[in-house]
């Protein structure tokens, strides 16, 4: 029964047009970026960096390198927006539309309903990230050849690495596992707010504000020694996969913190939902 309920939650989620806004926006952004890469001086700058470090330019200006470069702004800007939009909708929109009263006139416990919806949100986040990764690679391949992976993220993680195609693809895959955890966390924050008596838009805005505050505080100069207390620091674990050597302790630590945060946010949301009145 739980599986059927989960399947139906996904059916509801993917039956709505607004669910696809995120997917559409990612596709547009990826193509706009590729267009900019192709016709701007970005390529020359990258060539200078590679040749200056003694790497063959032709091998590393590749679909894989471009796909990864495209991911960074999308993860910073678009992913929080769309993950929070869907997370905020999951319960709050059902309350606003009146369908929640229909569901709660049935013999299902509130906790079970919240759990099913949250898991649907997590699955959505994973699907969004897989889609994002595959489509970035697909579109990049249309404009650039296959080749090795070149990664350079100067601040704050100081990542610089070059990898052959096979290793690069494997790391690209691994980094998406951690990106999925980031997306799930963003969805969970919005979902938690949506469990309380707020409008769906308010849940989304609250979650985005929470993430923005994390970003702002983490970047304040006097907060540098406390940066590990902010989510954004742990969200960057995905890029550490490309470090040489890989700082697994940092990555695993961040994953545990994010998973713990997700569970805490879920429990807060579930408790909030348990004790609220559902009225028309």
């Amino acid at each position: 029964m739980f599986k059927i309920q989960l399947r139906n939650e996904l059916l509801k989620l993917f039956g709505k047009k607004r669910t696809y806004i995120g997917f559409g926006a990612f596709l547009l952004a990826q193509n706009a970026m590729l267009f900019a890469f192709h016709f701007s001086h970005w390529r020359e700058r990258l060539e200078r960096i590679l040749s200056g470090n003694g790497y063959p330019v032709s091998e590393f200006i590749s679909a894989l390198t471009v796909a990864l470069i495209m991911l960074i702004p999308q993860i910073l800007l678009l992913m929080p927006l769309y993950a929070c939009l869907v997370g905020g909708d999951l319960l709050a929109k059902e309350y606003e539309d009146g369908t929640l009263r229909m569901i709660l006139s049935r013999p299902i416990s509130r906790f079970r309903l919240v759990l099913v919806k949250w898991l649907a949100g997590i699955l959505f986040s994973i699907i969004l990230v897989i889609f994002l990764g595959i489509m970035a690679l697909f579109f990049a391949r249309l404009w650039f050849p296959w080749g090795g992976l070149f990664v350079m993220v100067p601040e704050p993680e100081h990542i610089f690495g070059v990898f052959p195609l096979s290793t690069g693809l494997m790391l690209y895959f691994f980094s998406h596992i951690f990106l999925a955890i980031n997306a799930a966390t963003m969805t969970t924050i919005a979902f938690m707010f949506g469990c309380f008596n707020v409008k769906p838009a308010a849940a989304t805005i609250l979650a985005l504000s929470f993430l923005l505050l994390n970003l702002v505080f983490e970047n304040l100069p006097f907060m540098q020694e406390y940066k590990e207390y902010f989510l954004i620091h742990h969200f960057r674990a995905w890029i550490c996969v490309y470090g040489q050597p890989v700082d697994w302790a940092r990555i695993i630590g961040s994953v545990f913190i994010l998973v713990g945060f997700n569970l805490t946010a879920f429990i807060i949301g579930a408790i909030g939902f348990q004790f609220r009145d559902i009225k028309s």
Partner: protein, 318 residues
């Protein structure tokens, strides 16, 4: 008879506003039970509490003898509910909506869904998206989702809201069918007094969150002791009847016999005195006039649900 719904001294506040206070009543198996009250009286809050959607501040609510809060799943197992504005996933078909909503109760085979769709008369449109449905079709779909788990108790919150006269008549007919063919106990909250009067066997009336009447509808109807009298000469007739002590009061074409008078004696007296009698019958009290009286009266009825005023004083108050 088995009690399906039991509210014991239930109260609820939203902030400083008292929504429901010390409400108690029971609904027995087989009844069509009406919940009446003005806007904001607390009817929807009561239904919300009965379904465990709103937390009561105090008191106890039991459905099928299970506590709605601590034994929610057992309490709601045999309950179907329809709300005033049926809400669905408009972007999905009626069939998909039924599949989704039924999965929160118990596994429902497609045959059962088809059977219920047939019963409510939605066959042929079940695979169309709900956004293409008329208000009447949405109401039928709401009924279908409520019937899917095979309920024994159906809770209807303002089911006639937004329906045209044809739709209201259809709804009434459907409620009767549900009661007769499926043997459902029906709890109905409605503003449509005429519908409640035709449908319900028992009612409770709520005013400002408090219960002000609980009793059989037949009691209300039989409360009135006035008779309609249509004769060849009404003035002459009442003069005669008053002189013989057969009436204690009269107005327009109505008369009120004293309690010890046998009404056929009135007709006999008129006929014997060569006054032609065209009509003579007891006027049934309408629910509307009774309801309006209650709203004005603002006094609690006795525990048994009987009013403390007599029929004639009640009529005179009106």
């Amino acid at each position: 008879m088995e009690t399906l719904i039991e509210l014991k001294n239930v109260s609820k506040k939203f902030g400083d506003n008292v929504a429901v206070q010390h409400v108690s009543f029971t609904v027995r198996r087989g009844e069509i039970f009406g919940l009446l009250g003005h806007n904001g009286a607390g009817k929807s809050t009561i239904i919300g509490m009965m379904l465990g959607q709103v937390w009561a501040d105090s008191g106890e609510i039991r459905l099928f003898n299970y506590n709605i809060y601590s034994q929610r799943e057992n309490a709601l197992k045999k309950v179907g509910a329809i709300f005033e504005t049926p809400a669905f996933y408009d972007y999905l078909s009626g069939w998909k909506n039924l599949e989704i909503l039924s999965c929160y109760s118990a596994p429902t085979p497609p045959d059962r869904i088809k059977q219920v769709i047939d019963w409510v008369g939605l066959t042929g449109r079940e695979h169309s998206k709900v956004k293409t449905y008329s208000h009447g079709m949405r109401t039928r779909l709401a009924l279908a989702q409520a019937l899917l788990p095979g309920p024994e108790l159906l809770i209807l919150d303002e089911p006639g809201e937004g329906l045209d006269p044809e739709g209201i008549a259809e709804m009434r007919h459907t409620i009767f069918r549900l009661h007769r063919e499926l043997g459902l106990t029906i709890f109905l909250s409605s503003h449509l007094l005429n519908e409640v009067e035709q449908l319900c066997s028992r009612i409770v009336v709520i005013k400002n969150g408090s219960l002000i009447y609980d009793g059989e509808l037949s009691e209300i109807k039989s409360r009135n002791r006035w008779y309609r009298l249509k004769v060849s000469n009404f003035q002459e007739a009442v003069g005669l009847l008053k002189g013989k002590g057969l009436i204690s009061s009269f107005k327009d074409s109505e008369i009120l016999p004293p309690e010890n008078v046998n009404p056929p004696a009135i007709v006999q007296c008129l006929v014997e005195n060569k006054i032609e009698v065209y009509e003579f019958y007891k006027i049934e009290e309408s629910l509307e006039s009774f309801y309006l009286y209650l709203m004005k009266k603002d006094t609690l009825t006795s525990g048994s649900g009987k009013l403390d005023s007599s029929g004639d004083s009640y009529q005179n108050t009106l």
